[in-house]
């Protein structure tokens, strides 16, 4: 019997397999940042261990770094200590680091692909749940905890139970103005936040094949929001074209050998999945969240639901609590919800294509009087590219704030936070209570919805402008 894409990549990386034990999996690339690594390096020191493969390890500063005054010392002393600790650890253990101020600095999941380090058929881990982003290239990529970070540093492997496989097939084409973000938000509301637990998911079908690499990364990025171990997409010409010429991409004969291998990374016709979900892209519309988890979503054209709309008592209670936290009345049209802050950025939607799309919608308009628009590029390279294309000037002319690169308001570890009660439309990935700042209220949206919302001050799509 044939193998699925995920099984092929998994089997290629098994160092050791024994009945009754997890597989020992080799890790091709280990990405590191300042928040989840300090205790791992401490563990190495205590056990007098070294980093086995510094040459398969890359560090960047992203989670807590400021997006203003990035050329000055970090004002918050606790954040500064964490960043300084990463710098010391990288120096002590010989790990390549792209620090604040470096041209390759940025969100770890934006930096890997733009350097060409993220390639098909690899295993990639990072102490960050959105590592699933790299699955867009046909890699098995997943987030790990700090104990596992230490394990990978010391051994370049991880003991892992082989997950089950699932196919999410998205047939048809996305309608004009409906994006990868709307697709994945629709999917998560369909499955719930736990629907993917225990599975590596392969996204496939016409709508997936038609996505750019940026769009594929947006879909794979949010795999974790419905609980999947990882999400991946078979590499194709779109993938190869994106990688070719990137700084760390294979060159010459290596390129030919790599592409020949990458072309084998497809699910065999006679392979079977443990579970399948089929969706139709052609009926999808702009999709936004109303609640406090990414599975609490609705079409932009719909209304805030009521607890009575749910059959499961657990969902009813969750809806009631979410409406209270979000300060929303059941039955309110989503388009009437007034937004204070619009956040464009994050590892979900902070790449150059995202900024181009946002600029296209906002060009010639002004940000609404009572609304603030924060545009945070995913990396310094993205910022410089956007500036070269004049996108920054479009944002600034509209009244937006144009910032430096980092995770920023996606998780509010740096000063970019919502105030209590403040409401955001955010292109990021999580609408958890307090995620973007204590008491903050988050609606997850696509790039076009974010840009149109900034102009109108209420949840909107470009069609409303």
């Amino acid at each position: 019997m044939g193998k699925t894409l995920a099984e092929k990549v998994w089997d290629e990386h098994v160092v050791r397999s024994t009945e009754g034990e997890p597989d020992l999996l080799y890790i091709d690339l280990h990405l590191i940042h300042e928040v989840t690594s300090p205790q791992a390096f401490d563990g190495l020191r205590m056990s007098q261990r070294k980093v086995r493969r510094p040459d398969l390890t890359l560090a960047t500063e992203d989670h807590n770094v400021p997006t203003l005054d990035w050329d000055k010392p970090i004002a918050d002393p606790v954040s500064r200590t964490q960043v300084d600790t990463l710098r010391k650890n990288a120096a002590d253990f010989g790990v390549r680091l792209h620090p604040l101020g470096d041209v390759e600095q940025g969100i770890v999941h934006v930096v890997g692909p733009q350097l060409g380090l993220t390639q098909p058929g690899m295993t990639i881990v990072c102490g960050d749940s959105h590592t699933s982003t790299h699955g867009a290239f046909g890699a098995i990529a997943f987030g790990i905890g700090t104990s596992e970070v230490e394990h990978v540093l010391a051994t370049q492997t991880l003991p892992q139970q082989k997950p089950k496989t699932m196919a999410v097939t998205v047939n048809g084409s996305l309608p004009e103005g409906v994006t990868a973000k709307d697709l994945v938000l629709t999917l998560i509301t369909h499955t719930g936040t736990g629907g993917g637990q225990g599975y590596i998911v392969e996204y496939r079908g016409q709508a997936i094949e038609e996505l750019s690499m940026e769009g594929r990364m947006t879909v794979c990025n949010m795999s974790i929001e419905w609980g999947a171990k990882a999400g991946l997409i078979a590499p194709d010409q779109t993938t190869f074209d994106y990688i070719e010429g990137k700084p760390e991409a294979p060159k010459g004969a290596d390129w030919d050998a790599a592409v020949a291998y990458w072309k084998t990374l497809v699910t065999d016709a006679d392979a079977t999945f443990d579970k399948e979900i089929v969706l139709d892209a052609s009926t999808m519309t702009p999709f936004v969240t109303w609640g406090t988890n990414p599975g609490q979503g609705v079409q932009l054209g719909g209304n805030v639901p009521s607890p009575a709309d749910f059959s499961d008592p657990v969902d009813q209670i969750a809806c009631e609590k979410a409406l209270e936290y979000m300060g929303l009345q059941a039955g309110t049209p989503m388009r009437e919800i007034k937004v204070d802050t619009v956040f464009v950025g994050s590892c979900t939607n902070g790449r150059i294509e995202d900024l181009r799309l946002a600029a296209e919608v906002i060009k010639g308009h002004k940000v609404a009087d009572q609304t603030r628009l924060l545009v945070v590029p995913g990396s310094v390279r993205v910022r410089l590219q956007a500036e070269a294309e004049g996108l920054d000037q479009i944002f600034i002319a509209a009244g937006a704030e144009w910032r430096g690169a980092g995770c920023s308001m996606c998780l509010g570890m740096n000063p970019d936070q919502l105030a209590p009660g403040e409401r955001s439309a955010s292109t990021s990935n999580r609408n958890f209570e307090g995620r973007q700042g204590k008491g903050g209220r988050t609606h997850l949206v696509s790039i076009p919805v974010a840009a149109a919302t900034a102009v109108r001050g209420t949840l909107s799509s470009p069609a409303d402008l």
Binding site: E150, E248, M413
Partner: protein
């Protein structure tokens, strides 16, 4: 890692589903570079509410958490496990755990005991009727016991054999893996040349 065989302690019902890691410990509390001191961040936003269950005196010594489905969703932060442990929790009981949280808890020595939703409901009812009551969790027999007589709860929980074995013996994963270093060397020797390197 300390061995875990069994634990008896005050159990606290947390009647919420989707308790994500941002609720367990908000990001602003993640800036420490140690594995200790995260207890102040545990359920930080909810603790501001004086009525929140953790603020009630009968749960001051709580060490077993009984939560709704999809516990630990969201971020990979192991700080969520450390915050629970630093505060004094030894066991979390739920009907469904997020994969990364479950993995992290197994590595750090916090027991994530998965039970049927009916067991969670039963424990919630028992604990509401008997605030501050103790629950016993035994890893050897994979069992949870509470109460006496007709109302007694005697249930089993699910945990994979490998994690159970490691917890029972307090084993360090890295040490186990390094005993197979020859296998890793052999694997590395046949990796293709086109695989990327960072330096």
């Amino acid at each position: 890692m300390d061995k875990f065989t069994n634990h008896t302690g005050v159990a606290m019902p947390l009647k919420r589903s989707n308790v994500d890691t941002d609720q367990i410990i908000p990001a602003v509390y993640l800036k420490r570079v140690t594995r200790t001191g995260f207890e102040d961040g545990l359920f930080a936003a909810w603790r501001n509410d004086r009525e929140f269950i953790m603020n009630r005196p009968e749960y001051a010594e709580a060490s077993v958490l009984v939560a709704g489905p999809d516990f630990g969703t969201g971020s990979s932060r192991e700080h969520a496990v450390w915050a629970l442990q630093n505060y004094g929790f030894k066991v979390v009981i739920s009907s469904r755990f997020a994969d990364i949280f479950r993995g992290n808890s197994g590595k750090a020595g916090l027991l994530s005991a998965q039970v049927d939703e009916a067991v969670v409901e039963g424990l919630w009812a028992y604990l509401e009727a008997n605030p501050g009551a103790e629950v016993s969790v035994d890893l050897e027999s994979r069992s949870i016991k509470a109460g006496q007589g007709d109302d007694a709860i005697d249930a089993t929980f699910v945990i994979d054999d490998y994690t159970r074995w490691r917890l029972l013996n307090g084993l360090d994963d890295i040490g186990i893996t390094l005993s197979h270093e020859a296998d890793i060397d052999a694997f590395e020797a046949k990796r293709p040349a086109y695989k990327p390197v960072t330096q």
